[in-house]
Amino acid sequence: MSDNTATANQQGSPKTSTIAESVIRIAGNSQDGIQAIGGFLARLAGRSEQDVMTFMTIPSTISGGPSIFQVRIGSGEVLSAGDEADVLLCFYDHSYANHISSLKRGGIVLYDSDHVKPNEELLGTYHHIGVAISSLTVEAIGGTGRDKGKNIYALGLIARMFDLNVPKLTKLIEERFGGKDPSIVKNALDCFNGGYGHQIQGLIESFKFEHAVHTGAAQVVMSGNEALAFGIIAAGVRFGAGYPITPWSEVMELLRRELPKYGGTFMQTEDEIAAVSMAIGASYGGRVAVTGSSGPGISLKTEAIGWAVMAEMPLVIIDVQRGGPSTGMPTNQEQSDLNIACFGGHGDSPRVVLAPSSVEDCFYTAIEAVNIARKFSTPVFILSDQAIATRIEAFPCPDLQNICQDISPDFTPVADHKPYDLSAPDGITRHVAPGTRIASGKYPVATGLEHDELGHPTGSGKMHSQMNAKRRTKLHKLASEIPVPKIYGATEGHVLLVGWGSSKGPIEEAVKLGRSQGEAVSGLHIKYINPLPENLENLFSGFTHVIVCEINDEGLYGYGQLASILRARYCDPRIKSVTKTDGLPWKVKEILTRALSLTK
């Protein structure tokens, strides 16, 4: 312990530095409620108009196990959960051992001295502060002998270190634990106050966040899974079906709980095949429905999705990706379902694939997916992933009054109806739902067999070619309508980093980092993956190297899944690929170093 510390303590309080942002990693076991600490910090940041992003790993074992929650709070724009932690809070020896290397040199490790024995060799590298969190928690709540609540005690310690807004945190704790047995709120507050009031021995410095720029709009704080589910509701979807699987389950649980309030329902089915089939049946009933899953369940749904392509039935499929193939790495981050989303299934089956880039984007993408499905009578995939699904972000509260839409079916009788009209100018099918009278007395059949314009089977090769063209042409129409992405940074330079889905934030940070080091790096995020937006080739043309960064394997031919599509589409040899499958989101430095090494 340095003299500096002693002086500070003699004076009664450590020195305070003002900081723009901080990365706090909390490591323990999932049953200790470490996600709750992270959740409180994230929501506090949201209420303080600070930007916040979290990163969480969930153990795949049932009884809990090692788990982390990382929060990055910033007074400016926060793009990723942070490469290195400024502060590491660890509850056990294993948390210490596994995560100390994630701490930046000179960072603070705050550890539970009841359980953790620090590594002597590291005492000089990191600033070590031990607090007997477990026993002090027991003391704070009156000595019942159990340390349940040590997460809240630790939250108190962090609140002291970062000079957090105590009244706001107290309110959050009351909201979270209120409504239950009043003694629970009291215990939680006792723990919090115990931690907050504790004189931390050895704390040389405490921090204060810069005042965030006031944006005016109130922020909401939620996870990507929540944002997707609420987006689906806002879009007017009132029927869904699914089967549990991590990390998708949370979406279906939320929809199951919430939809009845809106007059809708969500079915837990016997398997994913039933789920997609039921959702398609409901779409056929007149109102686009939703289904979803993760890897293995998406594989099961592919035959039925092919039917929806053939019958041109609107449908939204949410795929919260995880590590594959097979059961794979169920609780890890991966972006390896791009191929199955774009091409999964037999035959030529064009469909739409969108990949949201952030929690906020999940909300709006869900609405967009519903509207594309309706307008183009097509299945639409939303490719989320484990990282977006579980992380928490703050974003401006959407204008729900103007966003929420009513997509009730229209049963107005029609004179005549040809669902698969080949002469329709936009090539788009429009179904009339059962219950609609067709005055001509000629009724359509929705079918998976190749069909004529009325939906009746045909064996004609000519008709098959025409219908294949129809199903593809309508997606050309969509491609002409979707926005062309904007380059992040300069529109010309040495390296263009291309990414999709949740990699957007880390890639943009890598651009900032690269530019600060004098590299001519820019970024491009592709949200509309199938069909691709127009004009990408012109965006690529300003750069010597176009490097696609994605979290999947380089495959047999050395290119990741999006890179392969882009190379096939543009035949541009400048398109290169940086891939990885370590189960973790991108680190900013990792992207930059690996991409630049390809250009040397």
Binding site: V221, I233, F239, E270, S277, Y284, R287, W307, T436
Partner: protein, 319 residues
């Protein structure tokens, strides 16, 4: 102008989306019951003499008898010879994928309480590839009528063993005769939790029409097994059940208690050709009604609150 009765007036209109718009019954006094001419669509592609023709003809009759209107008829099927059904009916219909018709139909049934969905299919579609859905649709008691045209063989794919093929049946996949114990559809349905379970033959048209009519009136998952001969790949399979071919048509006696599950199981074990009629019929809340109740309860406190405000409340809690 007087309002004509809604087509399925004697059906209970329960279902989710009870609060969502469904088409208003058309006020049209002049519309007469549909004739076969108006209900028939594509000419069936079945082999001449196939038992399925008679099931189709009876469906037309049922539509006429129940005064169903074109727009409210919804016919769903999977894949198989029998599953071509929807193309032959001039009405809204869907020809889905092999084995999954029940799941598709559940989506229609649960989101459209104003429709009574009919599902037609074969034994392979129902008990092999679709076995899981059969079990769970029955268990959940999702309101619809399911008619399986059981020919004890895979017709469309040209004579492979089906889950109902009798032991010893010689097919392309069991040239020496099938050895697997066949499914007993009646037992399967009762055990799974179907609330209306009946059996008939394609040849006894009056009996089958009566059963289809009763099934349609049932508020729940109603299931009928129809022995329907595949003249191409299993000719003569059901002669033992056709009196004019020297067989018998043993009907379930009037004093059978259709709510007695054990008595029903006993009937399932009668020797070939087995029994015909309603084996089992009970009233149990449908999935449709259960979901409708969830909605009613959830909305009890929300009367008149627009959707966006309900969502806003959630968002306010996340601020």
């Amino acid at each position: 102008m007087s309002t004509i009765a809604i087509p399925n007036e004697n059906l209970t209109r329960t279902g989710v989306a009870a609060t969502l718009p469904v088409p208003a019954p058309l006020a049209d006094a002049d519309r007469k019951p549909l004739t076969k001419k108006e209900t028939a669509a594509d000419h069936p592609t079945w082999c001449p003499g196939c038992g399925d023709f008679s099931v189709l003809a009876l469906y037309y009759k049922l539509i006429e008898k129940r005064k169903m209107l074109h727009e409210n008829i919804c016919t769903v099927a999977g894949i198989g010879c029998s599953s071509r059904f929807p193309y032959f009916v001039q009405a809204h219909g869907a020809h889905f994928i092999h084995g999954r018709a029940l799941a598709f139909a559940s989506g229609v049934s649960l989101s459209r309480p104003d429709l009574h969905v009919f599902v037609f299919g074969g034994d392979g579609d129902a008990f092999s590839i679709g076995g899981n859905h059969f079990t769970h649709t029955a268990r959940k008691n999702i309101k619809m009528t399911y008619v399986v045209m059981d020919n004890f063989v895979y017709g469309l794919t040209k004579k492979q063993t089906s889950p109902t093929s009798p032991i010893g049946f010689k097919s392309k996949t069991d040239v020496g005769g099938s050895t697997d114990r066949p499914v007993n559809p009646m037992k399967q349905a009762i055990c799974a939790g179907a609330t209306f379970v009946g059996r008939s033959t394609a040849t006894n048209v009056n009996h089958l029409l009566g059963l289809m009519d009763a099934a349609m009136s049932h508020d729940g998952f109603s299931f009928i097994e129809v022995l329907s001969e595949c003249v191409e790949f299993f000719p003569g399979a059901f002669d033992a059940a056709i009196p004019r071919k020297g067989g018998t048509f043993p009907e379930i006696s009037a004093d059978h208690d259709v709510t007695d599950e054990y008595a029903a199981y006993k009937l399932c074990d009668e020797p070939w050709p087995g029994m015909f009629g309603t084996f089992y019929k009970v009233n149990r809340p449908t999935k449709n009604a259960n979901e409708a109740k969830l909605i009613t309860d959830a909305r009890a406190k929300l009367a008149g609150v627009p959707d966006w405000q309900i969502l806003q409340k959630n968002f306010d809690r996340m601020k």
